[in-house]
């Protein structure tokens, strides 16, 4: 591919929707004001973990003033069978997990809907449930593939023999708890029917995919479904595909003959929209005395629900990270009576790299090799499992740059020996990685009659800065100033486009926007501007032709941890990420995104844990009081920088996704720093004081 020349790309304009967002003018999903009388739906979650709904006694609430409908498994309109079984809401009487929606009330006011939903009497036939993931769970089995389509297990060379012969080995089990996405905007849907045409205002990460799914569910031609997601208040994977609130809204709006809003409560966000599966991961490393790896084994145990199989790709990063003579990776899955886990920011890489990068630190300690050096020593020439060359890989440059900036050289490797008053002080490092995916997309570009250009693509800006970077990209392709370009996104009618997921937005949409801009520019150059030109492009063929290389981004994260000698409280005063992520389109928004990922990684390291109550089969701490996410006071000095990386193979813009890599490795860097500070190795997240107290030096 030939690199394109850029002017706007690489500059740092502020966000295009910035003023709208800081003045409160930006309308998110359901915040529409032109629809007249809107009704409100409030869902009713199951209070048992497994069994059947025997009866819903709607009579008492159906007569309440303002109640328009009570939807139950008995009377809810029938839907076509969805690809995603979670969308078959109220289609049968089964209860597969506690909190699953079993009824809903639609009313003229939110207050009435909530009160009626709370007083709805439901009888259940309950059967015993099994909600707790354990290492030897009898239901563990081998899924056919792991998300989205990776082989479940891989094996290369004789791991057992290499481990037996290794001079140094590490054999450790790491645990990560359930973690909940919790975008600040809850999933929100507003459905409006006009005859047989459905318009849905929603908070989803992809309008086009939602349009296709809803058309199928409601047996409509896709053209009869219009999905709009102009502003999205975060998603982190939980809004990746259409979720059940949208289905309820569409169903109810048709029933009651007026627009219906469904805005999930924060408590619902812990059950019905997905979360990160808990994992139990065993890592075994074999190495020679110099820390050169001879064997890597990474075996993950995780859960899914009985509604649908979601098998997280927890060990896939281990397949590409380090050179080793032999390697084995595997995934085992138990389908339990729990809510369905799904995508959460860097599914797979995030929990998997906590284990691998903690184990690498343990190997560094065991061999006495510096943790930065041991990673450099095991740098592969090609992607280990596939043998493909990397389109670009700058892990070593990131490690070195980070070491320099962080002041790593002076580090004393001994754990538990540095004190600053009542604080034990330590530093740690971990690597980051994330695949550089790209998906086919369509886009259009047109010269506007009054001058200027409009580019349309069904992209979503979930906080990434997509609208802004696409405008920069379009301006360069059109060879005009950014002020002359208006990019419209968030609308399924703009055609097929990749999701705002898998860190592939900028790469995929940017590719289509580049082609659209180039084609319009060529047409204008040829025909002259008659003010009516419009071009449409589809990158499907080009994207399919991208082969021959292994496409990944890499990075290194450095953390300083301070642990209170008496209480075990952990603070992280410094966190530095250095990334090799291709061309940076907008340094301002890119830095925010990387820091945002690292902040969520810090939160995972120290705070976040969905606590399952096995007796009820539910996460008990399902609000922000019981489930702490990092607040301003938890976050000190976090910075993200990048090394210069030109990658002419990854896509025409040379960009790699940056939405997820920031959260990969953070937790390991913090855990490694905590070990260096205290001598206590915490292998199960989050790193809480109770896990440290017993082991702190006196």
């Amino acid at each position: 591919m030939t690199a394109i020349t850029t002017r706007a790309v690489g500059s740092s304009p502020t966000r295009i929707e910035g003023t709208a967002k800081v003045t409160g003018a930006a309308r998110y999903s359901t915040e529409q004001d032109h629809l007249g009388d809107v009704a409100y739906l409030w869902p009713v979650p199951a209070t048992i973990a497994k069994g059947r709904v025997e009866a819903v006694d709607s009579d008492a609430v159906a007569g309440l003033p303002g109640v328009l409908a009570v939807l139950t498994p008995d009377n809810a309109p029938r839907l076509e069978t969805p690809d995603d079984a979670e969308l078959a809401v109220l289609q049968d009487h089964e209860v597969s997990y506690r909190g699953q929606f079993v009824a809903a009330v639609v009313a003229t006011s939110l207050e009435t809907a909530r009160e009626a939903a709370a007083s709805l009497h439901i009888t259940y036939a309950e059967v015993p449930h099994d909600s707790e993931l354990t290492e030897n769970h009898p239901k563990l089995s081998k899924p056919e593939k792991v998300n989205p389509a990776f082989p479940t297990d891989t094996e290369d060379g004789d791991v057992d023999a290499a481990l037996a012969a290794a001079a140094v080995t590490v054999d450790a089990t790491y645990r990560t708890p359930p973690v909940h996405n919790n975008p600040m905007e809850p999933h929100a849907s507003l459905a409006v029917w006009l005859g047989h045409e459905l318009t849905l205002y929603d908070s989803l990460q992809g309008a086009f995919a939602a349009q296709q799914a809803l058309a199928k569910l409601f047996a409509l031609p896709p053209a009869s479904v219009h999905v709009i997601n102009e502003h999205v208040g975060g998603g982190f994977g939980s809004k990746g595909t259409v979720r059940l609130g949208a289905v309820l809204a569409a169903m109810a709006a048709r029933e009651v003959g007026r627009p219906v809003k469904v805005v999930l409560g924060r408590q619902h966000m812990f059950t019905v929209v997905g979360y990160r599966t808990p994992t139990i991961q065993r890592v075994r490393l074999g190495a020679d005395a110099d820390g050169q790896l001879t064997a890597i084994e990474h075996a993950a145990i995780e859960q899914t629900s009985t509604v649908l199989e979601f098998a997280e790709q927890t060990t896939v990063a281990t397949r590409i990270m380090y050179a080793a003579g032999s390697r084995r990776t595997s995934h085992r899955l138990a389908a339990l009576d729990v809510p369905t886990p799904r995508w959460m920011r860097a599914p797979g890489e995030c929990p998997g790299m906590f284990a691998l990068e903690s184990a690498m630190d343990e190997l560094a300690v065991a061999t006495g090799v510096d943790p930065v050096e041991i990673r450099i020593r095991n740098e592969p020439d090609v992607e280990p499992e596939s043998g493909k060359p990397f389109s670009s890989r700058n892990l070593v440059a990131c490690l070195r740059e980070g070491a320099e900036r962080f002041g790593w050289a002076a580090r004393d490797p001994r754990p538990g020996v540095r004190r600053d008053g009542r604080w034990l002080v330590g530093t740690g490092v971990a690597a980051s990685t994330y695949p550089s995916y790209v998906g086919p997309s369509t886009a259009s570009a047109a010269a506007e009659p009054g001058g200027g250009f409009v580019v349309r693509i069904s992209a979503a800006d979930i906080g990434t800065g997509a609208r802004t970077v696409l405008t920069q990209i379009a301006a360069d392709a059109l060879r005009v100033r950014v002020e002359e370009v208006r990019v419209e996104i968030g609308d399924s009618s703009f055609g097929q486009a990749a999701l705002a997921g898998g860190s592939m937005g900028t790469a995929s949409w940017g590719w289509a926007v580049t082609r659209a801009g180039e084609r319009l520019r060529a047409a204008l150059d040829e025909h002259g501007g008659d003010g009516r030109l419009e071009v449409h492009v589809d990158t499907a063929e080009e994207v399919k032709a991208r082969t021959g290389f292994a496409y990944h981004a890499f990075g290194a994260q450095y953390a300083e941890a301070r642990v209170d000698l008496d209480t075990g409280e952990v603070r992280v005063p410094r966190l530095l990420g250095v990334f090799g992520v291709g061309r940076i389109v907008n340094p301002r928004t890119a830095r925010s995104q990387l820091i945002g990922g690292m902040t969520m990684g810090l939160s995972m390291a120290l705070h976040e844990e969905g606590v399952l109550d096995p007796a009820f089969g539910d996460y008990v701490n399902h609000d922000f009081a019981g489930y702490h996410v990092a607040a301003a006071a938890d976050v000190a000095d976090i910075d993200a920088v990048w090394v210069d990386e030109q990658d002419e193979h990854v896509n025409p813009l040379g960009v790699k996704g940056i939405g997820e890599i920031g959260i990969v490795g953070t937790a390991a860097a913090v855990a490694n720093a905590v070990f260096h500070a205290t001598g206590v190795r915490v292998r199960d997240l989050p790193i809480r004081l109770d896990k440290l107290l017993g082991g702190l030096p006196g």
Partner: protein, 164 residues
């Protein structure tokens, strides 16, 4: 009832269960105040009630008669953005923007509290010495940001504090 919002008196007929937040969002079309939790745990709904920062989801609208509500919609003046708004844009103090109106209203209230010399949990002396980073972080910790924009928010507020 009458509700005074951003200096304008508005006539409303409300359910006595309606929160101030729902009155603003669902009845007055003032969607700038956001609902992140409806439980007083996230700060997305922060407004100024008689000048004090308040979680609008925890206040029943009927208790607000005769009181002055200030929301994000009323913050920018005729000459453009409020300095806090401007600083949020320049320092990229947000990503998805959903927590942002609450962060900004909270910051405006926080700066005022600091002006009055109110101490915070991290203030060593009775009077805070200055609006340091730890002071700002502590005072802004009632406003969660899942996008993790705290670094930008701190830079924005440090900038505003240094200019005033």
């Amino acid at each position: 009832m009458q509700l005074s919002v951003n200096g304008q008196s508005r006539d409303l007929e409300l359910d006595n269960r309606t929160t101030l937040l729902d009155a603003l969002r669902e009845h007055l079309g003032l969607i700038g105040s956001k609902k992140g939790c409806d439980h007083g745990q996230c700060g997305a709904c922060t407004v100024l009630l008689d000048g004090r920062r308040t979680n609008a989801c925890l206040v029943l609208a009927v208790t607000c008669a005769g009181r002055e509500v200030a929301t994000i919609e009323g913050l920018a003046g005729p000459d453009g953005l409020h300095p806090v708004q401007q600083a949020f844009v320049e320092h990229d103090g947000f990503q998805c923007g959903y927590c942002t109106p609450g962060q900004i209203m909270s910051a405006v209230g926080m700066l005022e509290e600091f002006e009055r010399g109110w101490p915070s949990a991290v203030t060593g002396e009775v009077q805070p010495a200055g609006l340091t980073a730890p002071e700002i972080r502590e005072r802004m910790s009632g406003n969660l940001c899942r996008c993790g924009a705290y670094v930008g928010i701190l830079a924005a507020l440090t900038d505003v504090a240094s200019r005033s």
